[in-house]
């Protein structure tokens, strides 16, 4: 019964594939996987736009959208219709072809990245040996899309906004990749399926063996989530857009459904990064405690994903935005050293796994935790003290 419910989608796919003639089976299987990923995550995007508006509304002490359908549930549909029927304006001096291609280049690689994510037990579209690298390679193309959008609009705000966005994405890609490398080091594989499998089993018979429950894993998770927030241009790192400085950044000359595509790409990127964080550090589709194992694996995965989304909405509703220079300083002077030290911590954790003497596990924990906490405290203190507080000077506007 439990395994039946757990594998219901896999079984359904196998049943549909078995109905097809032999020559077509592999293609049908691929199309089903791709269609399922597209359908599920596009509807999750619709749901998230509503949840985000509702959540932000609640944080600001107002009800949020509640007119369209029961509890405002049909609001995403109305938004979509509005976006589809809006006039698509392309500036006369814009580079027509590249202006058209940019939203497509934004969405397609992000959707591709979902192929390697295990959404449940036996629920991954493909299992590459270098799955993690594939994920990051697919994500790298979005920078090109941002540049294409900014440059082809032939608008200085768009170009400056694109430069800002690219600088931010390139800077935060470094800590993001380095923080996920700790997991690769520990597991010894870049296949996301094997990374999830390495987190099966339970500590003391009940607590899951997630990487987030180790010192390096916890630090890695925090660093990864922070850089994922920046990579997805989410608040408090959403400076590529700024009403008072560069208006909508690289999106300034986009309207109608192309704008919606950029939004879709951004949200899908956020979901895929959250899903990667879950896969790497939070056990993927594994249950957190042994007596909750009867819940289907995909329910765990999407539950964790919704938890991540709620976290991002909460952060957006509560934290103020950073300035560009603060953002860059944070990435290169704070995140990068911590990530490098965390690599050392992971290596130490790996080598001390074979320690056998009295209280070895406790010592191992203490040393690794100190390697995480001490640099954090010292670096944070130093950066805080070097901060120049005082009246702001406006070099060009005074």
């Amino acid at each position: 019964m439990t395994t039946g419910l757990d594998q219901i989608f896999v079984a359904l796919k196998h049943w549909v594939v078995s109905l097809c003639p032999t020559g077509w089976q592999s293609i049908v299987s691929m199309v089903i996987s791709a269609g399922a990923i597209l359908g599920v995550f596009a509807s999750l995007f619709g749901l998230t736009t509503l949840l985000e508006r509702k959540g932000l509304g609640r944080i600001q002490n107002r009800p949020g959208p509640n007119r369209v359908g029961p509890f405002g549930l049909l609001q995403p549909l109305a938004d979509g219709l509005k976006m589809l029927t809006k006039e698509d304006i392309v500036p006369r001096s814009a580079d027509q072809l590249i202006h058209f291609l940019a939203p497509v280049t934004m969405v397609v690689p992000v959707v591709l990245a979902y192929a390697v994510l295990p959404l449940g037990r036996n629920m991954e579209a493909v299992d590459f040996d270098a799955g993690l690298l594939f994920f990051f390679a697919a994500g790298a193309a979005t920078e090109m899309a941002v540049f294409m959008a900014g440059w082809s609009s032939r608008n200085k705000y768009a170009l400056l906004g694109a430069m800002r966005a690219i600088a931010q994405m390139v800077s935060y890609e470094v800590p993001m990749i380095l923080s996920s490398i700790t997991v690769v080091m520990f597991v010894g594989s870049m296949s996301l399926v094997q990374i999830v499998e390495s987190q099966s089993g339970y500590h003391w018979g009940w607590l899951a063996r997630w990487h987030a429950f180790t010192p390096w894993g916890f630090a890695g998770l925090v660093l990864f989530v922070v850089s994922a927030t920046a990579e997805a241009n989410r608040s408090p790192f959403d400076i590529p857009e700024g009403e008072s400085e560069i208006i909508a950044g690289h999106l300034i000359e986009y309207s109608g459904f192309k704008y919606a595509l950029f939004f879709l790409g951004e949200y899908l990127g956020l979901f895929s990064l959250s899903a990667l964080g879950i896969t790497l550090f939070l056990g993927g589709w594994h249950a957190p405690v042994v007596w909750l194992e009867w819940v289907p694996s995909y329910a765990w995965f999407f539950g964790k994903l919704l938890g991540f989304i709620a976290f991002f909405i909460w952060v957006r509703g509560t934290l103020p935005r950073l300035r560009t220079d603060q953002l860059m300083n944070f990435a290169w002077k704070f995140m990068l050293p911590l990530v490098l030290i965390n690599l050392g911590t992971a290596a130490l954790w790996w080598y001390t796994g074979s320690w056998v003497f009295m209280g070895a596990a406790v010592w191992r924990w203490l040393i690794c935790a100190a390697m995480v906490v001490v640099p954090y405290a010292v670096l944070g203190r130093v950066m805080f003290e070097r901060r120049h507080l005082g009246p702001r000077t406006y070099r060009y506007a005074s």
Binding site: I98, F128, D129, A130, L133, F134, F136, A137, A138, G139, A140, A141, E143, M144, F147, M148, W151, L159, M163, I166, V170, E173, G188, S189, M190
Partner: protein, 165 residues
């Protein structure tokens, strides 16, 4: 296999031709990115997963962006009046023919091509990593040193400009 290879090869070649032929420099950079993607597809068809993905990550994600940003920092990127073919094209063609000819000769005469066709090796990423960190660690470190040196050089050049101001 045949069709897939044709598409990948066409993408690479057209991207390469485009990167030489467009009048707008930024278009050339985009064409170059397309050519990188085509090359990555070729690697994937050869079963070199790691190299293919790394090609996209490094070349499309970093090098193409670097080229584009460097381009925007230079002036006159959209001059429409300059001739498409630069003056010394005869020499250029000679050098290109010599270089590609010697490369093709080397490949055709090499023992890999002339020997019996061996089965396609299945190389796992793990084995590749072990090779890189074991047998070829000196080469890897050497390349790393070279890149670091060039990075420091770039920083030094940038610093000197600032002092002159």
């Amino acid at each position: 296999m045949g069709t897939a290879f044709c598409i990948a090869a066409l993408l690479t070649l057209l991207g390469g031709v485009g990167s030489m032929c467009f009048r707008n420099l930024v278009h050339c950079a985009f064409a170059l990115a397309v050519s990188f993607v085509g090359l990555a597809a070729c690697y994937l068809l050869l079963g070199a997963e790691f190299v293919g993905f790394a090609q996209v990550l490094v070349y499309v994600g970093a090098v193409a962006i670097l080229i584009v940003i460097a381009m925007l920092l230079t002036r006159n990127i959209e001059s429409k009046h300059e001739p498409l073919v630069a003056g010394g094209w005869v020499m250029g063609v000679c050098v290109a023919v010599l270089a590609s000819g010697s490369l093709i000769l080397c490949v055709v005469n090499s023992s890999v091509v002339q020997g019996p066709v061996s089965a396609r090796p299945t190389m796992s990423t793990r084995a590749l990593g072990e090779q890189l960190m074991g047998d070829y660690v000196m080469a890897l470190e050497g390349i790393g040193l070279l890149l670091t040196a060039s990075l420091i050089g770039a920083v030094v050049i940038a610093l000197r400009e600032k002092e002159e101001r």
